[in-house]
Amino acid sequence: MKFIKRLLLTGIKKSPWLLHFDCGSCNGCDIETLAVLTPVYDAERFGVINVGNPKHADIFLVTGTVNRKNQEILNNLYLQIPEPKVILAVGTCALSGGIFAEAPNVIGGVDKIIPVDIYIPGCPPKPEAILEGVLKSVELLEDKVKNGKI
């Protein structure tokens, strides 16, 4: 068991995989998130890869507000990601609803539906800020593996 834990720790530290879900954002945060993965900011040097399958992911990056139709999908994706996982809310809308908080179809921030570990404010946040959030979440993942029941 100890061996598996050590293996998991190395794996997660060197290659945290990321699932990105646009949950009703205006696209600003999404394209900044994608910009983080492309050559200028190059998150891949830390082993971060954007994956399409929730079952492969360690980090769940959510942008945008929650509305009445996507809350179910958000929750589904959250449940499909295996433990240990870290949830990142990117952008003012994901934090509180932002400028859309009063719009008729908006429920609010991401943390109304799923627990959030790291909040990154900004409209949209700068790529450096998103990158730092992703690196912070790697530390958090390590903690979760060390102190978890796995």
Partner: protein, 115 residues
């Protein structure tokens, strides 16, 4: 830019007028719905070589409006959106989302007394 002006027509004449525009090769640009007290104003906008033509009809909430989808197939999204947001109903839609295009259940959020 040209000045904005529109022509108010009767509900019964809508389809014949739109058919004429279709024969003249007009493109359907938009249908904009506005609530004015208890009535609804629908502004149909058409374009030909970058000049616009507007038709307006005024309807009550329960009146079924003839759908344009028999003339312009692509109108179904515009009409379904109005069905969703204002709770109006269109007759003979080719794809009818029944008020659930945007919302999981029927709830016309854009009505003035509905938050």
């Amino acid at each position: 830019m040209e000045k904005f002006s529109y022509k108010i027509i009767n509900l019964q004449d809508l389809l014949t007028q739109v058919k004429e525009l279709r024969e003249k090769k007009y493109r359907l640009v938009s249908i904009s719905c506005t609530q004015v007290e208890e009535k609804f104003e629908l502004l149909y906008t058409f374009d030909l070589n970058l000049s616009l033509k507007h038709l307006k009809i005024i309807v009550a909430k329960d009146t079924p409006i003839p759908s344009l989808t028999c003339i312009y197939e692509g109108a179904f999204l515009l009409e379904n959106e109005i069905q969703d947001q204002f709770g109006l109903s269109f007759a003979k839609l080719n794809i009818d989302y029944k008020g659930q295009l945007f919302y999981p259940e029927k709830n016309p959020l854009f009505l003035k007394n509905n938050k």
